[in-house]
């Protein structure tokens, strides 16, 4: 009576694509249901407003609420957030894996994940920058060296990057390995079907067994509500939509109560020398000296983004827009030890509410981070550093900078952003904390799995895509061998 697939994969981002590919290779009949549209490279790289309309969930208007609201965006198109991310690649450090083991009894070791990282790195051509570093990276390196801190160039999943500076608008050259390029074509060659414009509203379950899903197909003229049945369902809708979908479907066990993020504070720096950040890839280095609680690195740049960073003190800052060629952007990122949650809205099937409260450690680390980053940038030759904090004027010298080692930034004046969210359905063997077992199977359900950012037990402290993909592959192969 209904349309069927052997396995449904909901969402085609970092987690969903790996899952679908491995299942397809193992001979399963796989259908990916993806809410967003599918685009060609020729559609990518459009101006930011157009890219936001097409590629971002709710056009990028998905703030995380809390005493300090935090700007948050994620992708909603075939390939998910990997289509708009910058492709920075980090393996999760062993220390974090051990903490996950200790706190959640997550049954996974560094050695076990290594094989899957290798696999993903090969597929995505992950590597270091091959030619001379762009100017925004060079000045950053200069600053770090002047400070004598440890740092590393972060590998990226963007072989042959042509510096079109369009990561967040969809890479028009196809160098950045979003899933629509890196994995989905191969998955399709193994028979995986991708249905774009299909938003799953509800998972149909009965006595611990999922039977299928109800989805809205967005099609010309009208939306169609359909039911699609499956023997197994993998939910890979990302850190906010996965718990929202489960909760909407009445699946609640440790779901949506433990959202974690990496809060970021953006700063712009004005140099005397021309940097032209708009014409190069974003800065490639991360300071590791203060890791894992604190990392300093380079942010996206466009005149619009710069204006947003300067906008907290716009009347004083707007004149500097004319210096945009001299003003790269950087960030202070903290591991995020606050707590958050995700809930579907009471009415409608599209709305998702997210909340996160900064912890006092977060605030402390952001303040210290601003001090450190400003010291670094001034040592690199910056004339002024502009944090996106209302009422905090430009930092002009080391003296201004170190003030934030001892003082806390005013909480209600902060303008924070994040693109890294996770842990809303933690996985592990510790049932009193976790929504799924170590392999992503939802507790209490025999054929329902989660395989995306939501299952990371806690904040990884590094860019998460690599770990999401490695875990997703490990879990999928486990599923294949177990069945």
């Amino acid at each position: 009576m209904t349309s069927r697939a052997q396995v449904l994969v909901i969402g085609s981002g970092a987690g969903g694509s790996v899952t679908a590919l491995e299942l397809g290779r193992a001979g399963y009949d796989v259908l990916i249901l993806e809410e967003g549209n599918r685009y060609e490279f020729s559609d990518y790289g459009q101006a930011t407003p157009e890219a936001m309309r097409r590629l971002y969930r709710r056009r990028g208007m998905t703030p995380i609420l809390g005493k300090v609201p935090i700007g948050y965006v994620e992708g909603a198109c075939v390939g998910g957030s990997t289509e708009i991310n910058s492709g920075f690649w980090h393996r999760v450090p062993q220390e974090i894996l051990l903490r996950w083991k200790a706190q959640f009894d997550l049954d996974v070791s560094e050695g076990e994940l290594g094989e899957h990282y290798d696999w993903a790195e090969e597929r995505l051509g992950v590597g270091l920058w091959k030619t001379e570093w762009p100017k925004s990276t060079q000045v950053f390196a200069r600053g770090i060296e002047a400070m004598g801190w440890s740092y590393s160039e972060v590998p990226r999943a963007a072989p042959g990057c042509q510096q079109s500076n369009a990561c967040a608008r969809g890479c028009p050259t196809g160098s950045k390995q979003g899933m629509s390029r890196a994995l989905l074509p191969e998955a399709e060659s193994h028979g995986v079907r991708v249905l774009a414009g299909a938003r799953v509203n509800r998972i149909l379950e009965r006595s611990g067994r999922v039977q299928g899903v109800v989805a809205t197909l967005r099609r010309e003229g009208r939306n169609q509500l359909v039911r699609i049945d499956a023997e197994h369902v993998f939910v890979c809708c990302g850190p906010t939509e996965t718990p929202a979908l489960l909760l909407r479907s009445g699946i609640r066990f440790h779901v949506g109560n433990s959202l974690r993020i990496h809060p970021y504070l953006k700063v712009a720096a004005r140099f005397d020398e021309r940097i032209d950040p708009n014409e190069s890839v974003l800065p490639l280095l991360q300071v590791k000296e203060f890791w894992p609680e604190l990392s300093l690195g380079g942010g996206f740049f466009s005149p619009g983004q710069l204006a947003m960073t300067l906008s907290e003190n716009w009347p004083a800052n707007r004149g500097h827009m004319a210096d945009s060629r001299y003003m790269p952007q950087y960030y202070v990122g903290v591991r995020g030890t606050g707590r958050g949650w995700v809930r579907p809205t009471v009415f409608g099937t599209e709305g998702t509410l997210t909340r996160y409260e900064l912890s006092s450690d977060d605030l402390r680390n952001l303040s210290v981070g601003l001090a450190r980053l400003s010291e670094l940038l001034i040592a690199a030759g910056a004339k002024e550093v502009y944090p996106s904090v209302w009422g905090v004027g430009p930092i002009r010298n080391q003296m201004d900078a170190v003030r934030w080692l001892d003082e806390l930034l005013p909480k209600n004046a902060l303008s924070l952003v994040t693109v890294h969210a996770f842990s809303s359905c933690p996985s592990g063997e510790l049932r009193k904390k976790c929504a799924t077992d170590s392999q992503g199977r939802v507790y209490g359900y025999e054929n329902l799995y989660l395989n995306d950012a939501s299952i990371l037990p806690d904040s990884p402290g590094v860019n998460p895509q690599a770990t999401i993909m490695a875990l997703a592959r490990r879990n999928t192969l486990h599923f294949v061998s177990a069945s």
């Binding site: 549209n37 703030p63 197909l217 010309e220 509500l225 009415f347 004046a413």
Partner: protein, 483 residues
């Protein structure tokens, strides 16, 4: 909400208002007050409430039995399911309670939603039939005629038809499905599939009644349910000094319950009072006493069950959105031909900006040296983008934003005796900047979304970028000296 549902809600509210007017039109309020003052609430009110609640436990038992072929429920869970339906009907329009109840039953039991809904429908029909029988008994015992008999005749026809439908579904389910198939074929494959699906689920819903003994038990339980409800009506008669006649209680109970089948506001306010009062009027109870009695019965009917329902909503974390979602899912679902699916259409373009958004954007973006024509184009596109972004905000924030801007507009009127949109640009700019960048934190929060998106869209516009590129040829020192 779809337009049909809106119509239903508006119709319900109008009908409630109409019945309230009918109930109160010719009444002296002093008499009503006096009747209430003289009422003996103890022990009658607690007894009435107990009787009503006992009826719900029997309803729960009946629900458990009806679902027992496919699902194992405890009587308490089944009672909660039933209570939830009543409570939601008391607080939400358009009989959403029926859907909420079916949704919770699906959630708790794993039954397909349509099956849960047809169980609810079946219970309703049983209730109707039992009520007609009880009304017949009351009419036999009491010498009344006129509109009561007409109501009964009308209701008999409606429930008679429904009864035949149920009888057919119980005794000749397979034929009914086949017949639906034949009729459906006329409308093409999709109609055929949907119709067969729906009829099949409905037939499944009444399966329990196929065994005559089971059917008898269910009929008996339905009788007990309504006797308990009549108990509530009975207990409250002496509270107003009326003779506790079981026949009058039966008459009032049946007429009121048939009466509230007409569309009305949540909680049946209006029709409940009107029909209850009229039923007592037929046996010679004075209008003021009748209405006071009706109001008290309504409170007994409304308060405990609504409170219980709210507890269920909180304890089980049941979302009304699940009910709405389930209602959508209940319309027999289309069966997509997954292999022959056209791609989804492009996402909606930016909407046209409202005057207020245009006025705010104009005040927020900087002064530039663009030609008037170019500036007009940039502003048009910027404000359209901003409007789209504001519409994409989560509903809660959207409402807060609209309310906040309304407040700002009102204050503008008071301060300048002019509308915000009508303020000359320079003055508007200074005024808006006070809000957006001033020391008033709430004002800054209110303007954050609009100022950030306006600046982003402005600086990403090709005409502005071209202008910026031209002006940033200057060295920053020279540029900043222009500030």
């Amino acid at each position: 909400m779809g337009s049909r549902r809106w119509l239903f809600v508006v119709l319900g509210l109008a009908s409630s208002a109409g019945f309230l007017w009918l109930a109160f039109a010719r009444l002296e309020f002093d008499d009503v007050r006096a009747a209430f003052r003289q009422a003996d609430l103890v022990p009658w009110l607690p007894l009435a409430a107990l009787s009503y609640l006992a009826g719900h436990f029997v309803r729960g038992l009946r629900c458990r039995l009806l679902a027992s072929q496919d699902a194992k429920l405890t009587t308490l869970t089944a009672t909660n399911v039933v209570v939830l339906g009543y409570a939601v009907n008391n607080i939400a329009p358009a009989r959403l309670g029926e859907f909420a109840r079916a949704a919770m039953l699906t959630q708790r039991s794993g039954l397909p939603y349509i099956q849960s809904l047809s169980l609810t429908f079946l219970e309703r029909i049983m209730d109707g039939l039992v009520m007609l029988a009880l009304l017949a008994v009351a009419l036999w015992a009491l010498p009344v005629g006129g509109w009561v008999t007409t109501t009964m005749e009308f209701a008999s026809v409606v429930f008679g038809i429904a009864f035949v439908g149920v009888l057919l579904a119980v005794t000749a389910g397979d034929y009914l499905v086949r017949f639906a198939g034949q009729v459906g074929q006329i409308g093409g494959r999709r109609v055929h599939d949907r119709l067969v699906h729906a009829v099949n689920q409905a037939v499944q819903g009444v399966r329990y009644l196929r065994a005559p003994r089971a059917a008898l038990v269910v009929v008996l339980l339905s009788g007990i349910v309504w006797l308990f409800e009549a108990g509530m009506f009975l207990c409250l008669l002496p509270a107003f000094g009326l003779e506790p006649s079981p026949w009058v209680a039966l008459l009032a109970m049946t007429v009121t319950n048939l009466g509230i089948l007409v569309p009305s506001s949540p909680g049946f306010i209006g029709p409940f009072h009107f029909f209850c009062k009229e039923a007592l009027g037929v046996v010679g109870v004075a209008e003021a006493v009748g209405l006071s009695y009706a109001a008290l019965v309504h409170l007994t009917f409304y308060v405990p069950i609504t409170a219980w329902g709210v507890v269920i909503l909180l304890v089980h974390g049941f979302h009304l959105s699940s009910a709405m979602q389930a209602r959508a899912a209940a319309s027999p679902l289309a069966l997509p031909d997954l292999d022959d699916m056209p791609p989804p259409p492009d996402l909606p373009p930016n909407p046209e900006a409202r005057e207020i958004t245009r006025a705010l954007c104009e005040a927020l973006v900087p002064v530039d040296s663009l030609s008037a024509e170019s500036r007009h184009e940039v502003l048009l596109e910027t404000s359209a983008f901003v409007e789209g972004q504001l519409e994409a905000l989560p509903a809660r924030l959207r409402v807060l934003y609209q309310m906040g801007i309304l407040g700002v507009r009102l204050i503008t009127r008071i301060v300048f005796v002019r509308s915000l949109c009508g303020l000359p640009l320079e003055r508007r700019r200074r005024w808006v900047e006070k809000w957006a960048y001033g020391s008033f934190g709430l004002g800054r929060q209110l303007f954050r979304a609009i100022r950030a998106t306006a600046l982003l869209a402005y600086y990403e516009h090709p005409l502005v970028r071209a202008e910026l590129a031209a002006t940033t040829k200057l060295r920053p020192k020279e540029a900043s000296s222009r500030d």
